[in-house]
């Protein structure tokens, strides 16, 4: 069975500002030991490809999208952006694609959000077009939660991205990975498994869930604490949790959001 080393990513959020400011943030991530720096894809928000090219001035980390709202893009025009960005950043691109989860992004683009099935169809068609037009194609991360996306990821992804934003506990990750394993068969061993870490809270008592509550509104503190992407405890305990995820679920690649970049780096140190 293929064995994957730990990989750690950080998603830089919010406005990008000047090139100097942007590079400083990317450099900090690099210095803290992150393997990859991500940008998200929202409207309004950061323009992914120009930002990644600018980020490439800082050597080291790979650079990726986590994850594109695939339905916003025409496949052939996206293919050009992907190919040329990857070439201009010397192969450091990892392309994360999602089916889209925020109607606001689509509304801002004047596009219909559509049914989930339509959005999954679009991801499928996009991947087909990308394989046809982009050579060499960068590693593909497919963000998946529902069965159709999990089946698509099983067939097409190099990396499968998991995130839990509903009030479900660790079992939901277990179920999705199990479903993925059976859909992928032999190919499962070739899939790197990624989890979005939504909070990192170092404490030996009650966790401060202020930021977590803003990220996942409408959930009780108990539900937040049970979220597999919300990591609470001493540094050593958080590291233990990730080792357990590695052991039990074969999750090896963890992406944190920028507010937790410095704290999570302490965990990275323990695990390297």
């Amino acid at each position: 069975m293929a064995s994957y080393p730990f990989r750690f990513g950080v998603a830089l959020l919010g406005a990008v500002g000047s090139a100097t400011d942007w590079r400083a943030r990317v450099r900090e991530a690099a210095d803290l030991g992150y393997d990859i720096v991500h940008v998200a894809d929202h409207l309004p928000g950061v323009a992914p490809f120009p930002s990644l090219v600018a980020a490439a001035s800082v050597p080291g980390p790979r650079l990726g999208t986590l994850a594109l709202n695939t339905g916003l893009y025409r496949p052939a025009v996206l293919a050009r952006d992907v190919a040329d960005t990857n070439r201009l950043i010397e192969g450091r691109l990892e392309l994360g694609l999602g089916a889209g989860h925020s109607p606001a992004d689509y509304g801002a683009a004047g596009l219909p959000f559509g049914r989930p099935g339509q959005r999954v169809d679009h991801v499928e068609q996009t991947i087909t077009e990308l394989r046809r037009l982009v050579d060499p194609i960068p590693p593909l991360l497919v963000a998946a939660s529902g069965r159709r996306m999990l089946r698509l990821a099983a067939r097409e992804a190099d990396i499968v991205g998991f995130i839990v934003v509903t009030p479900e506990g660790e079992q939901v990750i277990a179920d999705r990975i199990e479903f993925l394993r059976s859909a992928a068969g032999d190919r499962f061993d070739h899939l790197e498994l990624n989890l979005s870490v939504l909070s990192v809270i170092f404490t030996d008592g009650d966790p401060d869930l202020t930021t977590t509550r803003q990220l996942l509104p409408g959930q009780s503190d108990e539900q937040l604490r049970a979220n597999p992407g919300v990591l609470i405890g001493a540094v050593s305990q958080v590291a233990e949790t990730l080792l357990r995820y590695h052991e039990k679920y074969r999750l090896t690649y963890f992406s944190v959001i920028e507010p937790y970049m410095k704290d999570f780096a302490k965990v990275i140190e323990r695990l390297r």
Binding site: S18, P50, D81, R87, L88, A109
Partner: protein, 288 residues
């Protein structure tokens, strides 16, 4: 007061990061004021290319010459443009056009619109994108590539810079300027723009794209691009076009000054073709 002439290059090169960045540095060293890229599905993605050029240069403005607006969603385009503008500390000049190559539309899975349809897309995208950029507080200069009445009318209203199309190939039968020789066409189109813009005309910078710059003494002029753009014109006629410059560096410099004098054109952007990049660089030296 006589406005200074600005010099631009339209780069068609593709290549590795270091090849591309070397070209960008060369463009800066030669003294160009604007480094631009075209927009075709078969060529480099414009915004990534400009961001990569931005990383190794400080002086030249960075432009799109011109985006094929039919290929883009205005909200995404505005987002990209705002991002590039911010990340380059305001060096972006956003050039917009209708898109005209059938292959681009085909590649993008879009039907090829009629000329009117393409003009309508440009109108829609221009008004939407300029509004969104303004609302976000980004004062991005907008260039519009225009030749027909409709696009010139749009440019009169919205553009900071107008690249006047003088290639008769894009003017179909029945339209003003069809079969008109380009020198006459250029004057007539500028006249139309002046009329449409009224008081605003003085705020608009006029741009002319050059397809050939040849310094005499250095081999024969390469008229390949010129012949493609102005089909049917004999070579003697091509050599008299404003978009085809040849002579000594001083002759060409004088010719550009003359075009400023008589037509009010103060921005010349040369296509990277043949030896144009270096040749135009020599002409730029005449002005510094």
């Amino acid at each position: 007061m006589t406005k200074n002439i600005r010099f631009g290059i339209i780069l068609f090169s593709k290549g590795t990061r270091s090849v591309w960045q070397d070209i960008a540095r060369r463009v800066e060293d030669l003294g160009y004021d604007v480094l631009t890229v075209p927009d075709h599905v078969s060529m480099c993605a414009p915004f990534p290319a400009l961001m990569s050029a931005a990383a190794v240069t400080t002086r030249p403005q960075l432009g799109t010459m011109v985006l094929a607006t039919s290929l883009y969603n205005p909200a995404l385009l505005a987002r990209d443009a705002a991002q590039v503008y911010e990340l380059t500390n305001g060096r972006l000049e956003l050039g917009l056009g209708t898109g005209w190559m059938a292959e681009d539309f085909q590649a993008a899975g879009l039907p090829f619109p009629s000329r009117a349809g393409r003009a309508e897309n440009l109108e829609h995208t221009t008004t939407e994108v300029t509004r969104m950029l303004r609302d976000a507080g980004h004062r991005v200069p907008v260039l519009i590539g225009a030749g027909g009445d409709r696009t010139l009318t749009l440019a009169a209203k919205h553009a900071d810079i107008v690249s006047i199309k003088d290639a008769p190939g894009i003017t179909p039968p029945g339209e003003p300027g069809h079969n008109q020789l380009p020198h006459g066409l250029l004057a007539e189109r500028i006249g139309f723009l002046r009329q449409a813009a009224g008081d605003r005309f003085d705020q608009i910078e006029l741009c002319l794209v050059l397809c050939s710059v040849h310094i005499t003494g250095s081999a024969e002029p390469d008229l390949g691009m010129a012949r493609a753009l102005y089909p049917g014109l004999p070579d003697e006629e091509l050599l008299r076009l404003p978009g085809v410059q040849h002579g000594s560096e001083q002759d060409i410099a004088d010719s550009l000054r003359q075009l400023r004098e008589t037509r009010g054109i103060t921005y010349f952007a040369v296509m990277e073709y043949g030896g144009n990049l270096e040749a135009f660089g020599k002409v730029i030296s005449q002005f510094r």
